[in-house]
């Protein structure tokens, strides 16, 4: 056993994962050597059409064999048909032992469970949730799931930690020569940010579209340079699951209260000035924080520079009304965002690599002032857990949590102290996703708790004096007082999940849950 920089005990090597490089601290590991790459290929003038008749033909043409790695992006979210469609076809073709390397999986992918049980899928490197997460937590997969952040994943690909054999890219719109677009069709999803690295580094790229148009299309996100084959299918996804309608600000009083405190902290911070950049995401609290921040920006006549990450209609309004000058969009959440990215030159599509990869020549999170995040648990050292639930089940991906926390100058985790009886602040988190060294403050319904290493923020908050301030010790005591003693999670020794820090070191592992008596 070895201990990483957070004192987490890890084996030196994990079956199905390999040698463990222990977490050293948030910006300690630096790469050496050259980037990895996909296979080189010639395409001459006599080859002017990349369209194949169906998925099976594309799988055959791609050279996909048992034991290889296939990748997918999650821009179609819970509306996605493509992952299930491709794996079904692989199963029918007798391909087995695949490593599934999605940017994320959703509830709709629970249809993969029979393929996991039958051995078509041997390993998943990517987020698991819902029924698949439960299956993994209970020991239902041979090899551990490997979790990487939105920035850690392109890092793993570009440096060669993960080699993609075939990337299947769902494309809302495509032409016969493999130019792909996320807008302008019935299955529009906006940004194709998560698909870029896969397109550039996979040995073979298969685009799957339900809107095949004559060459060349406009609004190209991923160009013909990277795409080997194009397959047209009836439908790549359910539009209702791909994008949501208009995003409403929550009226839930508890969430509004927390959001107000978070916005007041931001306003009190030194970053609240002209040029402020922020990422708030799409959840109930973050969106309300944005609304309160907008009020403050209006009142204090502050103009921001850019909004980052997953973009909603609310951010589109901020852009239109001049509260920010640019949106850097890795993922478009709703119809308004999809419309805007298609038409507004200040609404810029960025890749996951551009967004968050620590091993390139500068990613966007490095330019970020403020990020609002959530967590299922935090501990007295401000370490955050977003992957496991209170019962120890591995049910959530990392998303951009690690990356934005590491990059932003002010990282705020806002979360009700209690979800039912489950507290979000504990002595020691069950598993660590993001280390306390990059978390600056926790905001709950009891007020604002600032990491003691940020004395500057504590001083600024005291100076503002318009929201309750309490120490981590006080917050933890409050939680314990309310909920009473907690029993530890009962686990087996076997590791079912490996949580990588964005630089490829292991920050923690997740163990198999003990079967319920």
């Amino acid at each position: 056993m070895i201990r990483n920089a957070l004192g987490r005990e890890l084996p030196e090597s994990i079956p199905g994962y390999g040698v463990v490089k222990p977490f050293l601290g948030h910006d300690k590991r630096v790469p050496e050597g050259n980037r990895d790459g996909g296979r080189i290929k010639a395409t001459f003038g006599n080859q002017t059409d990349k369209v194949l008749p169906d998925i099976k033909a594309a799988i055959a043409a791609s050279g996909l064999k048992s034991g290889m790695t296939v990748s997918f992006h999650h821009h179609l979210r819970n509306g996605d048909y493509v992952v299930n469609m491709v794996i079904d076809a692989c199963a029918e073709m007798g391909i087995r032992d695949l490593t599934l390397f999605p940017t994320a999986l959703f509830g709709v992918h629970k249809k993969l469970i029979p393929h996991i049980k039958s051995g078509v899928i041997r390993r998943i490197m990517g987020s698991v949730n819902g029924p698949i997460g439960q299956l993994v937590s209970e020991g239902g997969m041979e090899e551990p799931v490997v979790l990487r952040s939105h920035g850690g994943r392109p890092r793993a690909v570009t440096c060669g930690d993960v080699h993609i054999d075939v990337a299947f890219l769902a494309a809302p719109r495509a032409d016969r020569y493999g130019n792909l677009s996320g807008v302008g069709s019935k299955s529009a999803c906006g940004s194709l940010g998560y698909a870029f690295t896969d397109a550039m580094y996979a040995d073979c790229v298969v685009a799957v579209t339900d809107c095949l148009q004559p060459y060349p299309i406009g609004n190209v996100s991923i160009s013909q340079l990277y795409v080997d084959f194009v397959v047209a299918v009836e439908s790549i996804g359910d539009p209702a699951g791909i994008v949501s309608g208009t995003t409403q600000i929550t009226r839930d009083p508890l969430r509004l209260l927390i959001s107000r405190y978070a916005a007041q902290l931001i306003e009190a911070s030194p970053y609240f000035k002209n040029g402020i950049s922020f990422q708030t995401g799409a959840g109930g609290i973050p969106l309300a924080v944005t609304a309160f921040m907008k009020e403050a920006m209006k009142r204090r006549e502050v103009k921001g520079s850019f909004g980052l990450g997953g973009i909603t209609g609310y951010f589109v309004d901020l852009l239109k009304e001049g509260y920010v000058e640019r949106l850097l969009d890795v993922q478009s959440f709703d119809l308004e965002a999809v419309r805007s990215i298609a038409s507004n030159p200040d609404h810029v599509e960025i890749s996951a690599d551009w967004y968050a990869n620590p091993w390139n020549k500068g990613c966007a999170v490095n330019m970020l002032d403020v990020v609002i995040l959530g967590a299922t648990e935090l501990d007295k050292d401000f370490n955050a857990n977003v992957n496991t639930e209170a019962d120890g089940a591995l049910l959530h991906g990392i998303g951009g949590h690690q990356d934005t926390a590491a990059g932003a100058k002010l990282t705020i985790i806002s979360q009700p102290l209690l979800r039912g009886r489950i507290p979000c602040v504990v002595d020691s988190v069950y598993s660590v996703t993001t280390p306390g060294e990059v978390v600056d403050a926790v905001v709950t319904e009891y007020g604002v708790t600032i990491n003691p290493r940020r004395q500057d923020l504590i001083d600024a908050a005291k100076e503002a004096g318009n929201f309750p301030l309490l120490s981590m010790e006080e917050l933890l005591a409050k939680a314990k007082d309310l909920v009473g003693p907690m029993e530890p999670v009962q686990t087996e020794e076997r590791i079912v999940g490996v949580i990588e820090w964005r630089d490829g070191t292991v920050i923690d592992v997740v163990r198999q849950l003990k079967a319920k008596a």
């Binding site: 009226r251 009083p253 508890l254 509004l256 209260l257 319904e445």
Partner: protein, 292 residues
């Protein structure tokens, strides 16, 4: 002097709200055993409210309980359960007879004596929900030393007046004026009825501005999201605070030097002006400046 800008109703059978209500920082809480609790849940709510009170974590809020009306069979049991558990006051619905205040006073005294609580500690907030109650507001407010505030009803009262509640509140205008007059004459607080349209933030802001101008000290609240808006309206502006500070300081200095009247910004400052300035500072949360 206690601020009562906002007194938030918490449904008595809802653990979530009972435990979290104080987090929204209202000036006071009203744990409700009356209208918010169905008939068949009165017993369970009474136990729940009693236990939540015993646990006693309400921040700086003034804690009160709305008991069932004195015309029901529940009110004594309600008092027996909640008064010994530790509260600042009780809110009594549908008061219209000063004699009821005498009976209530006696009952409370008995319970306080038995529970070892200082006699007279439990305050009474009277809801006047009928025309008769409003008409006798002054008598009710002075019937017991315990009475600390009077509050007009909303729906019940307008029904009794043979009208209904409108967005403009025309039907309650006279009632509200009478209530402030009675409260001031009796030396108790005037607290307004709830604003029922919980998503109408602008309507609420307008109504609070109106009742503040009439002289009300605060308002009953049915949704936590209303609290910041009401506080905002009741909180004096920076300019008002600055002026009040100068007046209070000048008055203090004059008192120390044995002078009768002083002038601030070239205007005579007499006793009522000083009193209003002190009140402004209290509302701004600066009561220490008044007391020191």
């Amino acid at each position: 002097m206690r601020l009562r800008r906002t007194m938030l109703y918490l449904p008595g059978n809802n653990p979530n709200m009972l435990l979290r209500g104080h987090l929204f920082n209202p000036d006071g809480l009203v744990l409700d055993l009356e209208d918010a609790v169905a008939m068949r849940e009165k017993d369970a709510a009474r136990i729940l409210v009693r236990d939540v009170l015993r646990q006693g974590n309400f921040g700086t809020c003034e804690v009160t309980v709305r008991i069932n009306g004195m015309d029901t069979s529940y009110w004594k049991e309600d008092l027996e359960a909640v008064v010994p558990a530790g509260i600042h006051g009780i809110r009594v619905p549908k008061v219209e007879d000063p004699k009821d205040m005498v009976l209530l006073d006696e009952t409370l005294s008995e319970i306080e004596t038995r529970a070892g609580i200082p006699l007279g500690k439990t305050l009474v907030f009277c809801l006047l929900e009928t025309a008769k109650g409003i008409w006798r507001a002054y008598e009710i407010a002075t019937a017991s030393k315990r009475v600390t505030a009077i509050i007009p009803g909303g729906e019940d009262l307008t029904a009794d007046l043979r009208t209904n509640r409108s967005a403009e509140g025309t039907e309650l205008e006279g009632v509200r004026k009478m209530l402030v007059l009675a409260a001031r004459a009796a030396g108790v607080d005037a607290l307004d009825t709830v604003f029922p349209r919980i998503t109408d933030d602008e309507g609420l802001r307008k109504e609070v501005g109106f009742i503040k101008q009439l002289g009300f000290d605060g308002k009953s609240v049915i949704h936590p999201n209303q609290i910041p808006i009401i506080h905002d309206v009741f909180t004096p502006t920076e300019k008002e605070i600055e002026k009040a500070k100068r007046i209070v300081a000048a008055a203090k200095e004059a008192a120390e030097r044995g002078l009768g009247a002083v002038s601030v910004d070239g205007r005579m400052v007499d006793r009522p002006v000083v009193k209003r300035a002190e009140f402004t500072l209290i509302r701004a949360g600066l009561s220490e400046e008044v007391l020191s």
